[in-house]
């Protein structure tokens, strides 16, 4: 963070130095030019900035305010200070949904990152039909999660699902994937990983392709075998990209909702009832908007802290 800003500051300094004559009058004409440039630049980003302020920043501030109120759908509200947050700390449902979210993240992130790294490494090597496979692996990413969840719900079905039919042939099961409290989160994580890994795969593939050939070639000349090349050359060079992928997948996992909504409705016994589902119920089923906003803000803080930690880790590397 600090290194970045320092770099930006040092970059324009050669400009006044290059202009001959006393520094004060020379500095003057340069400023309006730069200011005009800045104004033009601002003009270019203004539409996006406006959209961001109106649709992102504004609602966030609004939610922060709402979280301090008891807001009814009828429009009447009263200021209650930190009462919503106090209630949150004592709410078992909040803690259990937070636990489900954390556990889901632990299943989902390694699964997705492992899957996308594996396929990226394969695609990086295989030249034959690479475009085709890249397309095939990316396809689930562009399908709707609701559609994917409906199909996977059928695959996991305990009575006549595809997976249990396969297990039946092997004279195993039937396994109640979505009805067993211990299996439901890994099962949903697998569905989400299947649906989402294509995106991270593309990013990792791009990262792999940007590693200079000479480095790997040098390793080959030094006699490094495939595994050692991967472990000591490719992966360290891929680290920034890998961290980026980890961050976005983790943030995605914290915000999980739709797959659970469609596949289990949070069950059995709230074993797949994550924070965002709780937030949704509180806001849109119970119309308890103040409390829902407090939940949203807590989720925002969790994601923020997580992003900052990750950012620190990446920043140190570069």
């Amino acid at each position: 963070m600090t290194a970045g800003t320092a770099g930006e500051r040092t970059a324009p300094t050669p400009e006044p130095v290059a202009v001959p004559g006393p520094p004060l009058p020379a500095g003057r004409p340069a400023r309006p030019v730069r200011r005009r440039e800045a104004r033009v630049g601002l003009l270019f980003v203004a539409p996006m900035l406006l959209l961001f302020v109106v649709f992102r920043f504004g609602p966030t501030i609004g939610a922060a305010f709402l979280s301090l109120t008891d807001y009814r759908l009828s429009g009447d509200w009263r200021f209650i200070g930190a009462e919503n947050y106090a209630r949150l700390l004592q709410d078992d449902l909040f803690w259990s949904s937070l636990g489900v979210t954390a556990l889901y993240t632990l299943f989902f992130v390694p699964l997705t990152v492992g899957l996308s790294l594996g396929t990226a490494l394969l695609l990086h090597r295989t030249v034959w039909l690479r475009g085709f496979f890249r397309g095939v692996f990316f396809l689930p990413y562009v399908t709707s999660i609701v559609l994917a969840a409906v199909i996977w719900k059928w695959i996991y079905d305990v009575e006549d699902g595809l997976l249990n039919a396969v297990l039946g042939v092997l004279s195993l099961g039937p396994v109640d994937f979505l009805g067993d409290e211990r299996l439901v989160l890994p099962a949903i994580a697998a569905t989400s990983a299947w649906k989402g890994f294509g995106y991270s795969m593309l990013i990792l593939l791009a990262g792999l392709q940007s590693i200079p050939r000479e480095v790997t070639e040098a390793a080959v000349i030094d006699g490094a075998t495939g595994w050692r090349r991967l472990r000591w050359v490719t992966l360290p060079l891929l680290r920034p990209v890998l961290f980026f992928v980890l961050v976005i997948e983790a943030i995605g996992a914290f915000q999980v909702f739709d797959a659970m909504y469609v596949m289990t409705a949070g069950g059995p016994v709230r074993a797949s009832y994550p924070l965002v589902y709780f937030l949704y119920d509180t806001g849109f089923k119970f119309f308890d908007f103040g409390y829902a906003s407090a939940l949203g803000l807590v989720l925002f803080l969790v994601v923020l802290v997580f992003s900052l930690i990750q950012r620190r880790l990446i920043g140190r590397d570069e």
């Binding site: 009814r72 759908l73 009828s74 429009g75 305990v158 009805g179 596949m263 409705a265 709230r270 089923k285």
Partner: protein, 418 residues
């Protein structure tokens, strides 16, 4: 800097002024002799629904020259969210279709006005249950225009295969049928325990059949964890453990097609609709469909609600709104709406003519239809009870423990309301 911000503010102010003017224009547009109505897809086929309500607009205006009616078709989805927002901002419709469980919620916000005047003289001809469900403190808040009902639906093929001649009509008969059906590889009783499935079609009918209630008499405490509730949940969990309730119950949501009942994996449902029976006739074959009376234990009861028209407390044209209510509650409209929607008549002196072979059985189930106990927290409460029922089904808690846990949460919720 200051001029800059002034310059920036000028168009903003103009925009605000323009939108305010537009808002005023919108309000001024609807004249005092116009009645706006929010209607929902009561007729499942969207085209037939639009055609029906277009015709109602025309017929009403012919019958009442000088009063115009605008029927706006709304989707069922996010129904309360939209209605509450509209009422809250003072832009709600004059007339709106309401279910009994919505009434206390909007009544609490002061959004509804009594409609007794619209049914003056014909009040006695409505089903008492239907009127009760829409009445609060002695005042009627919606005029019933149709009534839904659910009852038992049996798969004769499965019953025959298990050697059961008489379809199980009581809890004891269900329990007795379970091992026989299991022998032929079928489950006995369909159930949906997903958190998104309404308890009105699942746990509550069993609770009522056991003689229990959801709330205490004054509505301030949970009552579903009494001995009746425990009996109902024990009945259910015993069947589930024995494989007599489909294993997929935990994720099922009362859908007929592609679910155990539709797929002929379970012999009976206790909350089936006429639409389910028609679908069964098409997929199982007419000879395999049996529609029975509501399931019986201590009580014989099933879920069914009146759909009623309520009037906005801020309606501009109250007289016109009442005229529309009376128009829709007349025999001609009740018959035509019932025929188009497949729903039943809320009046004892009017029956909906039907050539549907099962309609008569559903009509016979109507006197047993119960719309549930009205409460502003009805839906929230379901979200608390459903996971505990799952806990009982999966064996993590005993029926008593599960219901006690839900009741403790329910009492918290009820205490927060007051």
């Amino acid at each position: 800097m200051t001029t800059g911000s002034k310059r920036a503010l000028a168009p903003l102010a103009l925009l605000t002024a323009a939108s305010l003017l537009a808002g005023c224009g919108g309000d001024g547009g609807s004249e005092a002799n116009d009645v706006t109505v929010w209607m929902y897809p009561v007729i499942a086929d969207p085209k037939a629904n639009s055609a029906y309500w277009d015709q109602v607009e025309k017929d009403f205006e012919t019958a009442h020259p000088g009063t115009t009616v605008t029927i706006e078709e709304q989707p069922w989805e996010n129904r309360d969210e939209k209605l509450a927002t509209a009422f809250g901002s003072g832009k709600g419709p004059d007339v709106v279709l309401l279910n009994p469980d919505q009434v206390p919620q909007y009544l609490g916000n002061g959004a509804l006005r009594p409609v007794d005047k619209a049914v003056e003289g014909i009040k006695e001809s409505f089903l008492p249950n239907a009127l009760d469900a829409l009445t609060h403190d002695g005042k009627l808040y919606a005029v019933p225009i149709y009534h839904t009902v659910t009852t038992t639906l049996y798969n004769k093929r499965l019953l025959d295969r298990a050697g059961i001649d008489k379809p199980p009509a009581t809890w004891d008969e269900v329990k007795a049928a379970a091992p026989k059906l299991k022998r032929v590889g079928a489950a006995t009783l369909d159930y949906s325990a997903s958190n998104e499935a309404t308890l009105n079609l699942n746990f509550y009918p069993l609770l009522w059949q056991a003689g229990g209630t959801v709330f205490s008499e004054d509505g301030k405490k949970a009552a579903f964890n009494g001995p009746e509730g425990v009996a109902a949940l024990t009945f259910l969990t015993d069947l589930y453990k024995a494989g007599a309730v489909p294993r997929s119950a935990l994720t099922n949501t009362n859908i007929f097609a592609d679910h155990p009942l539709g797929k002929q994996q379970v012999a009976m449902g206790f909350s089936s609709t006429l639409a389910d029976a028609d679908l069964a006739r098409k997929t199982w074959g007419a000879g395999n469909v049996v529609v029975g009376k509501p399931l019986r234990n201590a009580e014989q009861v099933s879920f069914g609600v009146p759909g009623g028209l309520g009037v906005n407390a801020k309606a501009r044209n109250v007289a016109g709104a009442e005229k529309f209510l009376a128009f829709m509650a007349g025999p001609a409209r009740i018959q035509s709406l019932g025929k188009a929607s497949g729903f039943l008549s809320p009046r004892t002196d009017v029956t909906v003519p039907s050539d549907d072979p099962h309609a008569k059985r559903f009509q016979e189930a109507l006197p047993f239809a119960y719309p549930g106990e009205p409460s502003p927290v009805a839906r929230q409460l379901m979200a608390l009870i459903a996971p505990e029922i799952q806990a009982a089904l999966t064996g993590r808690k005993s029926p008593r423990e599960a219901l006690d846990a839900a009741a403790a949460q329910a009492d918290d919720l009820l205490a927060r309301q007051r």
